[in-house]
């Protein structure tokens, strides 16, 4: 019998898992995908917002302001990457300047630290590529950028170290309420017993709710499409550049990323199929068109990738973080769209301390270890450290991904780590092999061979991403 089952191992589920591991509770996290952070957490803008957008007094406002601060703790404790970029919300001409005042007011009410109005000229002195048509800028210095899936990995790894169990490829198929516990059926044939369920199912959180009751909200999928600019354009812009928000969301942004790329996007469109994140001609064109209003001479010829993500927008117009009204011990984390990544660490604390009040029922875990060792990013280390490590581990000398300078040892560590992986994509998410300009054209084969060797698998069984997405169909020149 578990005390808590968390459904979903995105950044929210992972944050909740770590927060729960601070208590003497038995926790299981169930993830339908074969990796942590595979859906919403994988495809978003990676921004830790300052709080200029959410309605004052809303849960979104409160938790994103708090979450923004908590990221400093996560950086210190878990070694997550964090860029302190600041952000500019830009206005073109008198009409938009008036709208900008609305957000100044929100900043004031939300107590956004350090916000300030700049003239277009002042802003262009700081960001030389800002579009010439921009007349006024709301500067938000507390805005930061992180890497969402690295945050989820860090949280989940730390949770596992502190006793949480994680099961991948475990899709919840049924929930049955018994007298004082729940029976959670997984993949149609395994059952787990638990006293409480935390539904962090992201785009599927309403479907999970549906398994025991009529959920208090419905999730609509809102697709956002993005372009990725090669990291050689580092410094093209250094702040997150926002247009004025609209009912479609925060609009198309320019966002510097922690590893040097620049994201352009997202578009914003409601879609019928909330599980399908494909890019479209129309969406990508929309992104290009709207980004032109933010900066001049965007080097679109340096795009190395495009992708889409689904935001789970709920019919309830705030984060829905509550216990079920009908089923005690069943907790919803619903409608966690932007600024969900920002709020994630605060959402976890709010749920555990305020909504559930775990401290009233369970003892504190005295063995809780808040710190997580940083992974070795070999080619970012000083030469002396590199030489010292090379003496112990010569495989740090072997470059596998030359675009990102990723070594064989880093890949081996990712395969056998706490959150090990057996997929090409898993390696890319953990160490960035294949994330550069050639997109794995050079290193995918090498990564495949290392995976096969380390996991003692036939190359025919190596998969790219989802189970069954095998790289190869057969051996060539072999009759079978």
């Amino acid at each position: 019998m578990y005390d808590y089952i968390i459904i979903g191992a995105g950044v929210i589920g992972s944050a909740v898992a770590r927060e729960l591991s601070k208590y003497q509770v038995k926790v299981l996290c169930l993830e339908k995908e074969n990796d942590v952070a595979n859906v919403q957490t994988l495809a978003n803008s990676a921004i830790i917002h300052a709080g200029h957008n959410p309605e004052p007094g809303s849960l979104k406002a409160r938790l994103s302001l708090w979450g923004n601060l908590l990221y400093d703790d996560l950086e210190r404790e878990l070694n997550i990457p964090l860029l302190r970029t600041g952000a500019f919300v830009v206005a073109h001409g008198k009409e938009e300047e008036k709208d900008l005042d609305k957000y100044v007011k929100i900043c004031k009410e939300n107590k956004v630290p350090g916000y300030q109005l700049l003239s277009g000229q002042q802003a262009r002195k700081i960001e030389r590529n800002l579009a010439g048509s921009i007349t006024k800028v709301l500067s938000l210095p507390s805005t930061k950028v992180t890497n969402p899936w690295e945050v989820a990995f860090a949280l989940m790894e730390n949770a596992i170290e502190n006793g949480v169990k994680l099961k991948l490829n475990h899709r919840v198929t049924k929930i049955i309420k018994e007298n004082d516990f729940y029976l959670v059926e997984v993949n149609h044939h395994i059952n787990f017993k638990t006293k409480n369920i935390i539904n962090a199912g992201g785009v599927a959180s309403d479907d999970i709710g549906q398994m025991i009751e009529i959920p208090p909200f419905k999730i609509k999928g809102r697709k956002g499409e993005y372009y990725v600019l090669d990291k050689r354009n580092i410094g093209f812009i250094n702040h997150v550049i926002y247009p004025l928000p609209s009912e479609r969301g925060k609009g198309v942004l320019l966002t510097p990323q922690v590893h040097g790329e620049i994201l352009i996007g997202p578009s914003s469109e409601f879609v019928d199929d909330k599980h399908q994140a494909s890019t479209t001609q129309k969406g990508l064109e929309y992104v290009k068109e709207h980004s032109k209003e933010l900066a001049k001479n965007i080097p679109y010829n340096q795009i190395i990738r495009s992708f889409a993500g689904i935001r789970s927008t709920s019919t309830y117009d705030d984060f829905y973080i509550q216990e079920s009204k009908y089923n005690k011990g069943f907790y919803y984390l619903g409608g966690i769209e932007s600024p969900g990544l920002t709020a994630a660490p605060a959402i976890a604390k709010y749920l555990i301390n305020d909504v559930i009040g775990v401290q009233n029922h369970y003892l504190i875990n005295n063995q809780f270890k808040p710190y997580r060792k940083a992974k070795v990013e070999f080619h970012r280390l000083p030469l002396n450290d590199q030489k010292r490590l090379l003496e112990i581990e010569p495989k740090y000398g072997k470059i596998i991904c030359k675009c990102e300078k990723i070594t064989e040892k880093e890949i081996i560590d990712a395969i056998h780590g706490l959150l090990g992986t057996h997929t090409i994509k898993g390696i890319k998410k953990r160490v960035r092999a294949g994330a550069g300009i050639c997109q794995g054209g050079y290193c995918e084969e090498k990564v495949m061979k290392i995976l096969a060797r380390e996991l003692n698998l036939d190359p025919l069984d190596i998969i790219y991403d989802k189970d069954n997405s095998k790289l190869f169909l057969s051996e060539s020149k072999v009759e079978k």
Partner: protein
């Protein structure tokens, strides 16, 4: 101190290193793979060597010829070693390498010959919309998987782009038992060599869809490629409505262009040519940085390896001159691609260079049946030649004698279409 470090052990690097060593300098060649030969090792089809050896070889055979010559010269070389940093301190180049056996090392050299080849454009760079399944791979990656590793990525194949590697893979996969359903080319003409169109498509009844492109990609439930949509485009590459053809395929090979790999030069403030996407060079293939030479596909994309070898050998000779000549005064004037020229090399002509013969490589912008090639300086035609049947897919070379030019004015190359 090393006289010249050659980076890259493929066709270009081998030919350059052999030449520099023969001319009496000490050379270090650095290769990141565990064997020499570069991309030739995966090109197991024939057609290599006709120009140089007057005989047809496969890629590995051609590589082997050069590797033997290279080994005979007793040139120092490192394999399984990646150059991770390249910079210049005063007159000396510092090359930082990383390998499993030697760890991180630094080598100093008077000159550099960069012969790092090219990388393939990917789906991301051409932004094909749709799902992002596995099965959409570059033709070169598929070539390595099949020819070196011995694995087939699928059995129903479509190819986007009619570059030579794509065409050769159409034949290769057919011979391995796959069904190749077609090749789509966004341009109204093929981007591959004519002989490859004939030998790889026509001979196997594989249809070529000119002025067509892939407009959507669909995945199956396990995120493997299931279907692609192909549509016709107009003259400005906009898709034309109601021209959809859907193909059920498990593999989409991309042969949509090679880009010179000069990422190593990122830290050096070297002059770039947006047309070749590589560096600007003079007739020695010397860049705007003194002592830094570039050759092979890292300089411009070649159709034939024979031309890579010849170009690199010339570069080797030029490096010899550079090393022997301590007085590096130069007098460069621009060599400009004019009407109907897609790009040309060299982009500069150095009149202080004793190489009077300048080998010029260029590609036409479009298919031209009959033309007059003109080299113009000060509105005066200095050189003129009739050129027939020019294709963007086929690189052209001419030789110019710099004695005929004024040392102070830019020179333009153009193609006048005649009927």
């Amino acid at each position: 101190m090393i006289d010249c470090i050659v980076i890259g052990g493929g066709a270009g690097g081998l030919a350059a290193a052999i030449e520099i060593k023969r001319l009496g300098h000490n050379v270090l060649l650095i290769e990141r793979e565990d064997k020499l030969g570069g991309i030739l090792n995966q090109c197991i089809h024939n057609g290599f060597g006709l120009e140089i050896f007057k005989e047809e070889y496969t890629g590995p055979e051609y590589a082997d010829k050069y590797i033997k010559l290279f080994l005979r010269e007793k040139i120092n070389y490192l394999i399984d070693t990646t150059v991770i940093d390249l910079y210049k301190e005063e007159d000396i180049f510092i090359v930082k390498t990383s390998s499993e056996t030697l760890g991180i090392r630094e080598y100093k050299s008077k000159s550099i010959c960069l012969s790092t080849g090219s990388y393939e454009r990917t789906r991301g760079q051409i932004s094909i919309p749709g799902d992002r399944p596995y099965g959409v791979i570059t033709a070169g990656s598929a070539q390595r998987y099949i020819n070196i590793d011995g694995y087939m990525t699928g059995k129903r194949v479509f190819i986007l782009g009619s570059g030579d590697i794509g065409l050769i893979m159409a034949r290769r996969m057919t011979l391995e038992g796959a069904k190749v359903l077609g090749v789509a080319e966004i341009m109204p003409y093929s981007n591959g060599l004519n002989r490859n169109i004939v030998q790889c498509l026509n001979d196997f009844d594989i249809p070529l869809y000119l002025s067509h492109t892939v407009t959507n990609i669909k995945a199956d439930d396990s995120n493997h490629l299931k279907e692609i949509r192909v549509m016709k485009v107009d003259d400005s590459f906009n898709v034309i409505k109601d021209t959809e053809i859907d193909f059920q395929v498990d593999t989409l090979l991309l042969s949509v262009g090679l880009i010179p790999d000069i990422i190593l030069l990122d830290q050096l403030d070297v002059e770039i040519d947006p047309l070749t996407k590589s560096v600007k060079v003079d007739q020695s293939n010397q860049t705007s940085i003194e002592g830094l030479f570039v050759c092979g596909n890292a300089l411009q994309i070649h159709d034939l390896v024979d031309n890579v070898s010849k170009e690199s050998q010339r570069t080797g000779k030029a490096i010899d001159l550079y090393l022997r000549n301590t007085n590096h005064s130069n007098k460069k004037i621009s060599f400009i691609p004019g009407v109907n020229i897609a790009y040309l090399t060299p982009q500069y002509i150095d009149f202080s260079n004793p190489n009077e013969k300048v080998v010029v490589s260029f590609r036409p912008k479009k298919k031209i049946e009959k033309s007059l090639l003109k080299v113009i300086q000060n509105d005066r035609i200095v050189y003129e030649k009739k050129k027939m049947f020019l294709l963007p897919a086929e690189m052209e070379t001419i030789e110019l004698d710099i004695l005929h030019f004024d040392e102070n004015q830019p020179i333009t190359l153009e193609l006048e279409v005649i009927s």
